[in-house]
Symmetry: C2
Subunit: 326 residues, 2 copies
């Protein structure tokens, strides 16, 4: 078994403060790093690959306990990590959970977190394989997922002419956040998008089998993540925001900010939907929905060049990436 | 690829508050968990196994920045995780680093931590494969290691009659801690045992090839960890403390506590040496030292029964496990 990429090879990333940090790390590590910058690390194993990814959720940074329950904290952290397996077209095998427990919390609270983690692993078809515990000043969950995949779909395979598609709808998680931040409660459906995201493992595997050329999960929002796919594939993306499928309350929350709802949705992170480049001849969106139970919508096109061009009703529009770092 | 153990199967653990918590988690997760309680999770892959383990290091709990540098923080966290691969007899493939950066720290500080992580990965023969970043109130590093192993050595294979051996010497890490805690500086050699532990990958692989029946790494100290090996293997261990190889300053620090130095060493955690059960006919300790550059010392014997009996010069002695949780 060995890393699936050449030593020192990494995936180009789009702009953003967190990604400047990661670029700096990749540069400093030189040949000590390999394959960094895709959704998952890939290790060749037999005739396929082991896919690994790690994702950390910190109380006060990624969630607050007056918003969601401890079981949801566990589910959400695990789902965010499992989403990276979905983005690779991988099957989930299991996860390891490194959990920092704040000094005031006891075994009952820890078990609630672990039950959420276990339920998300089971939903994705995997097991809890191990973990580690520490004390600390706040809840922090570092979840590492392991999957297997025959033909991984990285961020790097999009070619000019491909269509660009998203699963499900966008802006729901941000709508929930916006409601909490102005002191009200989001609707049950909207709350669920933040507290209980469903890793798109089935969808990712379906898309991998049906010709997906490049794929990632929308954790930082379409505005930021599209740039990663463009950079890794060395292509230009043209995205027509009016085609974005909107989560139910994105409209209402966008109005409060005097923003087009499509901008609100594209700048909102943590929807954990998939962004995928498919060959231009792809026409099986209805079949996808039958198989996976969610929508698949074309939102743009892959062109030669670099960067991402967003338009709304034909006019260019500048978007800001969602940044939950710092 | 699938978990190497049956669903719901886990390894019995010795006594201690952290292990009561883990037992509770395993019970609550039921069939959602598999193989928990060994040094590594094992996934069958081709004709061998992928070994995975995660380990979290939290500022103020596992280390303090007035004791060690940021590069040492990174090395130590990675080495502690890599040590679990050594305990399985596995080869290191690489690691993923989920790093929480405190608000005041910038890119220069983060790079120091990452250089330490990268250097430890390289020392062990692996690469940095990926990671995640978050902000937070203190440094926290969750390192997940991936290795490969043909014939894993779990904690569960010791049989009555086996000899019980330890690599290297014990008590050095605790001696460094003791010096810092009373406001002085440990010697360079002793400091290194805490700040720059060397994962025993080469030693673990050598022992696996030479008949090791059960093995674990001494992260919680011989007093605590021996009980895990006894519980997982369903055997009784008889350990003669006078045979323990002592780290240079363990003597001096033990005198300050009016403790036998062997007790001081056995109750000290984070030496990251290996405890291994070998068949009674094993006689290659000198060959081990030639191959691995460290000593291998018999400290006891495996018997039928359960639990661990420590003696010092023939008299039974009660030891306390090292507990860095809580």
């Amino acid at each position: 078994m060995k890393p699936g990429s050449d030593p020192g090879q990494s995936f180009a990333l789009g702009p953003g403060a967190e990604f400047d940090r990661i670029r700096g790390i990749i540069g400093a590590l030189g040949t000590q790093a390999v394959g960094v910058g895709d959704d998952c690390a890939l290790l060749s194993s037999g005739d396929g690959f082991v896919a690994l990814s790690t994702d950390v959720s910190v109380e006060g940074v990624h969630f607050r306990l007056d918003w969601i329950s401890l079981e949801e904290v566990g589910w959400r952290a695990a789902a965010a990590a499992l989403s990276d397996l979905a983005a690779e077209g991988a099957e989930a095998v299991g996860l390891l959970a490194a959990v920092t427990v704040p000094d005031g919390a006891g075994q009952a609270e820890l078990l609630q977190v672990m039950m959420g983690i276990g339920a998300a692993a089971e939903f994705a078809g995997g097991k809890v394989l191990g973990g580690d515990l520490s004390s600390g000043s706040a809840w922090s969950l570092a979840i590492t997922v392991a999957g297997q995949v025959q033909h991984p779909v990285t961020r790097a395979g999009a070619v000019p002419g491909d269509g660009l598609w998203v699963t499900g709808d966008l802006g729901g998680s941000r709508a929930a956040l916006a409601a909490w931040r102005r002191g009200t409660s989001p609707s049950a459906n909207t709350r669920r998008r933040f507290a209980h995201p469903e890793p798109r493992i089935t969808a990712g595997r379906w898309l991998a089998r049906h010709g997906a050329r490049a794929m990632l999960d929308l954790s930082d929002g379409l505005a930021g993540d599209a740039a990663h796919l463009a950079a890794a594939s060395s292509v230009r993306l043209e995205i027509e925001l009016e085609r974005i499928p909107l989560a139910p309350e994105a409209n209402r929350e966008a109005r409060r900010l005097a923003q087009p709802p499509q901008q609100f949705a594209a700048e909102g992170g943590e929807d954990f939907e998939l962004l995928v480049a498919l060959p231009s001849e792809f026409g099986d969106a209805a079949e996808f929905t039958t198989a996976c139970g969610i929508s698949l919508t074309q939102v743009g096109t892959v062109r030669a060049g670099n960067g991402v061009r967003f338009t709304l009703e034909g006019l260019p529009i500048q978007l800001t990436g969602f940044n939950h770092f710092g």
